[in-house]
């Protein structure tokens, strides 16, 4: 029954109605405020107040949902559902809470770092190396992120033949840790990749805060498959960075660490082959020299054994040949000498000296002729020609 303008209901009905209205109007709200009266009850339930200068909202959550150590005074962002309890007390049932603002983030980071360090999650001895023959890579990143685009561009430029599976997840915000953890689980359960790269690139401290989520950090450290992280810039440090196996400073750096440079490899292969061909050529040259000495030794042996006797015979023959030549030359010399004597006898000077004269010119009456004696040349005139009686 209801009076005019008013609805009559029981307390339970009122609580239900208010909760339905709240759920309809504010199914999920995000509130930023300062944490106060933080306490954990029975090791299960977390209670705290979220306040600003004027108001305070009581908050409730399970300890399991608490992903980072928190304490009073921290500025936090909570996401939850406003509810009225059956005792009529208003509170926010919190899904997630994370510190915001530089001071709170730093404090939460240091607290968790100390805790996990004690447990040995960052132990350098546990770090695994990038597999030498990396052909199957898992990437966890937002495909819209600039860092992801840089990473893909660089691995494609540097290397080829890799199968890259990309798990598209958020890489900032309150949902990011769970999504990244699911992707890690996905790759670990399938075991198809040899290495997992979590890529985020640069961002503000608030953007990168999700990588300090305790459960995510533990999942990174527990991954059966080695993990490389590129979260933030070189100066930023996240707990996931500390828990992973290999830390890269930028997406480009991660790509360089995971792949070889094809241009460099090409040069190395060509240089190696050139050097090797030189080794073969040098080996061949050395062998040829060695063989040449061997041949020399062998041929010297052959010379003594087989050729030398033949040479002696040749030498003997040569002596005979030379003697013959000498004999022939001697005979030729005598012959020439005789001819010289004979020629000497025919010398006109010799004849003239014996008192003879030489008559030259046309011998006919009235003509002049020349008479040559040993001492003189006489020009004479022909008067008459008489036939001479011969005494042969």
């Amino acid at each position: 029954m209801s009076s005019a303008g008013s609805i009559q209901m029981t307390p339970t009905e009122l609580v239900l109605a208010v909760n339905q209205t709240l759920e309809y109007a504010y199914s999920s709200v995000t509130v930023v405020g300062e944490m106060a009266s933080f306490k954990v009850n029975q090791g299960k339930w977390v209670f705290f107040d979220l306040k600003d200068e004027e108001s305070s909202v009581p908050c409730f959550m399970t300890l399991w949902s608490l992903r980072q150590p928190l304490e009073d005074g921290m500025k936090v962002m909570v996401r939850g559902t406003p509810k009225l309890t059956k005792w009529g007390k208003f509170s926010l049932t919190v899904d997630t809470v994370q510190p915001v603002g530089e001071g709170s983030l730093r404090k939460a980071f240091e607290m968790l770092k100390k805790k996990l360090e004690k447990e040995g999650l960052f132990d350098p001895a546990k770090k695994r190396k990038i597999p030498e023959d990396l052909t199957r890579l898992g990437v966890i990143s937002s495909v819209q992120a600039a860092g992801y685009a840089d990473f893909i561009k660089i691995i494609n430029a540097r290397w080829g033949g890799m199968k890259v599976q990309v798990a598209h997840t958020q890489v900032q915000g309150m949902d990011a840790p769970d999504q990244i953890m699911r992707a890690l689980k996905y790759f670990n359960e399938r075991g198809e990749v040899q290495m997992i790269a979590i890529l985020r690139g640069g961002g503000s401290a608030d953007d990168l805060a999700c990588f300090n989520d305790e459960q995510l950090v533990r999942a990174v450290a527990a991954s059966k498959i080695p993990v490389i992280c590129d979260i933030g810039h070189e100066v930023d440090e996240s707990l996931s960075d500390l828990a992973c196996d290999v830390r890269a400073s930028t997406p480009s750096n991660a790509a360089e660490m995971l792949t070889r440079d094809r241009a460099e490899e090409l040069t190395k292969v060509r240089r190696a082959m050139m050097k090797t061909s030189q080794v073969v050529v040098n080996g061949a040259e050395t062998a040829r020299e060695a063989n040449r000495d061997k041949v020399k030794k062998i041929s010297h042996g052959i010379l003594i054994k087989y050729i030398e006797p033949e040479l002696s015979k040749i030498r003997e023959n040569m002596v005979g040949v030379l003697k013959n030549i000498e004999r022939v030359l001697s005979e030729r010399e005598n012959y020439v000498k005789q001819k010289i004597v004979m020629l000497g006898a025919l010398n006109p000077e010799v004849v003239l000296r014996q008192g003879y004269a030489i008559l030259s010119g046309k011998i006919s009456p009235g003509n002049d002729v020349k008479i040559t004696t040993y001492d003189a040349e006489i020009i004479a005139s022909v008067k008459k020609i008489l036939e001479r009686k011969k005494y042969e």
Binding site: E132, D133, L134, T135, V143, I152, I155, N156, W159, G160, G161, M162, K163, V164, Q165, V166, A167, H168, T169, Q170, D175, Q179, I180, R182, A183, Y186, R260, R262, E265, L266, V269, R270, A272, M273, K275, T276, S277, V279, V280, G283, A284, A287
Partner: protein, 66 residues
């Protein structure tokens, strides 16, 4: 593993081994020419791979928000 199944890294590692032989005590001139031929063939294959091979990028259809 057959030649076709070998990754680029594996081929490079194999070439490194082949080249090492030329500097090792096992080097024999009698085998050098044949070994050089084999290494040169592999080097040519690697050069081809280095120039042509591309990465296969697959964005998983899996929804990680749930």
């Amino acid at each position: 593993m057959s030649k076709a199944e070998k990754s680029l890294n594996e081929k490079i590692a194999e070439l490194d081994k082949k080249v090492e032989w030329f500097y090792s005590d096992d080097f024999k001139l009698e085998d050098a020419v044949e070994n050089y031929k084999n290494a040169a063939e592999l080097a040519k294959e690697i050069e081809g791979d280095l120039t042509k091979l591309k990465n296969e990028i697959e964005v998983l259809a899996e929804d990680f928000t749930k």
